[in-house]
């Protein structure tokens, strides 16, 4: 028998599960850090020590100190409470509102669909941050109002996604089969539509955690979010931006915290999208 060529194949593993575990754990750590912030800080974040102001990072103060001599590491950790917690709250609110409106419009169609979608178009047409500024301006500053302001401008995106997903689901054979089996509208929506559209929506919200964290930080940076001395990453950057040249660590450490958390939540969002599809997990 003549010689037969043999070639070696590199095998790529399906690593979605590993990635999910890694980023899930990282996100959980961030979340736990924000919940138990008080217990994790090496110093009291609000105690001033003017003798030690604007000190560069040392082993004692890993991120240095700000202009009042407050330990930056402690402030960043405590700041996670306001930043992460309120971001998650905000994203949860807009996801819920947007999905409800979207599914309702997609399923019902007709007049109500047109009206609600035109309203959401109006919201989408406004430059987001300007509108949020206006709302926050009317309601006054404060983290709570910043959340309301951002929620008011951010839900239409979710309504759009939920609506188009619902429309696509309505055309699938299994939904026809569900109708033929005599299921009521409520049952069809909760048992068949929502579970099948929640994947893409959740991915959007995961990816939005980063954006929302930045927008909240942005509002705080503009002075419409958290009020000093409350530690919040956006306002911390805003307060100290004049120190960027002389004591960069003061501005950069909350910036770094925003960067890390935005990245972790974005990557988690990506991974969840890959994992959400039961077909992608294989197994026949």
């Amino acid at each position: 028998m003549p010689e037969v060529t043999v070639r070696k194949q590199k095998i790529r593993k399906n690593s979605v599960r590993t990635r999910l575990i890694i980023f899930g754990v990282l996100a959980l750590l961030l979340l736990l850090a924000s919940i138990f912030a008080e217990y994790l800080t090496p110093y009291d974040p609000y105690i001033q020590d003017l003798n030690n102001a604007k000190a560069a990072p040392t082993p004692a103060h890993l991120f240095g100190t700000d202009r009042y001599g407050r330990d930056m590491l402690s402030r960043v950790i405590v700041g996670s409470r306001a930043s992460i917690y309120s971001t998650l709250l905000l994203v949860a609110i807009i996801t819920a509102i947007g999905t409800c409106v979207g599914v309702f419009c997609g399923w019902h169609g007709k007049f109500i669909d047109v009206v609600l979608m035109r309203i959401s178009d109006m919201f989408l047409a406004f430059p987001g941050l300007v509108f949020a500024l206006a709302v926050a301006g009317v309601l006054g500053g404060g983290l709570q109002n910043a959340i309301i302001a951002l929620a008011a401008i951010s839900w239409p995106k979710y309504a759009r996604i939920a609506r188009s997903q619902t429309l696509a689901q309505k055309e699938t054979p299994y939904l026809k089969a569900a109708k033929l089996s005599g299921s009521s509208t409520v049952k069809i929506i909760f048992k068949h539509i929502l579970p099948n559209i929640i994947g893409p929506i959740l991915v959007t919200s995961m990816l939005d955690i980063g954006t929302m964290m930045m927008e909240l930080a942005g509002l705080s940076f503009l002075g419409l979010g958290a009020k000093p001395p409350t530690a919040e990453w956006g306002s911390m950057m805003s307060d100290t931006r004049s120190l960027l040249t002389t004591a960069p660590w003061v501005t950069l450490s909350p910036g770094f915290a925003i960067f890390i958390s935005v990245m972790v939540f974005n990557l988690l969002g990506d991974t969840i999208r890959d994992y959400a599809d039961p077909r992608s997990r294989g197994g026949r």
Partner: protein, 261 residues
């Protein structure tokens, strides 16, 4: 007898370590039509994708060789195989229409794909295209060249796809389920067209399909596949009317046949 134009020798193909095709050997002579039949998951498409360099990143010919004339296709890089594609190796897919860009005329796109490989003037191209169109039974080649893809029906797009594959006069054409998306009346036209191509140009065709009717109407030889293995290989009339293997017999029995009398 002349050397075969295409030779598969003990070919194994794997996707990510999962073997999809094992130990397939056959050869195709100049001007011959080979039909490859099998049910879904039999590896029939994989088999010709290997020759066209379309296995993707996950797939690889892990064992054996695929010779086109003297070139071992299994060892070529993507870039080298792309040079051959269109020139030497023609392809027809299930939905030729989706391979066209929707906003430019068919003629413009054909001209562009031809100039990829060699320089040719627009005039020359036009003459040649209309010549090919007429040889496979298209009357108004001019009109087709000036149409946008969406102006042609699915069957028409498929027929244009065949003309495209013939344009650069390739040595061999691989057709992957070329009629499966078509209605029966259009399917017949497409089959006739491919037969005309063979008669007028002496084109060698490797035809992959699950439709045994199409195989019976076109192929000289048949290769029956199941679960990545070759079940039976022989002359079409013999395989269809007098199958040797149990599986082939079961397959032929399952085909609904029209009782005309």
């Amino acid at each position: 007898m002349s050397d075969p134009i295409l030779r598969y020798e003990h070919v194994d193909i794997s996707y990510n370590g999962m073997q999809a095709v094992s130990d397939i050997s056959f050869s195709v002579n100049q001007g011959e039509i080979l039909g490859i039949v099998g049910e879904s998951g039999s590896g029939k498409s994989t088999l010709i994708k290997a020759a066209m360099g379309l296995l993707g990143d996950a797939g690889l010919v892990t064992r054996g060789d695929i010779y086109y004339k003297d070139i071992n296709l299994a060892d070529l890089s993507q870039a080298e195989i792309r040079k051959l594609n269109g020139q030497e190796l023609g392809m027809i897919f299930q939905n030729s229409g989706s391979a066209f860009c929707p906003i430019r005329t068919v003629g413009a796109q054909l001209y562009e794909s031809m100039t990829e490989h060699k320089s040719i003037t627009k005039e020359e191209f036009r003459k040649r295209a209309i010549n090919v169109f007429s040889k496979i039974g298209f009357e108004d080649g001019d009109r087709i060249l000036e149409s946008y893809p969406f102006e042609l029906s699915g069957g028409m797009q498929q027929r244009v796809g065949i003309a495209v594959a013939l344009l650069s006069n390739p040595g061999i054409i691989f057709a992957d389920e070329p009629t499966s998306a078509l209605d029966v009346s259009v399917q017949k036209q497409v089959v006739d067209e491919m037969l005309m191509a063979r008669n007028n140009f002496g084109t060698t065709i490797v035809l992959v399909t699950h439709n045994i009717g199409v195989i019976g109407a076109m192929a000289d030889k048949v290769l029956v596949m199941k679960d990545g293995k070759m079940v039976e290989y022989g002359d079409t009339s013999q395989v269809i009317t007098d199958p040797k293997e149990e599986y082939t017999r079961k397959l032929m029995d399952a085909v609904p046949r029209l009782r005309r009398a």
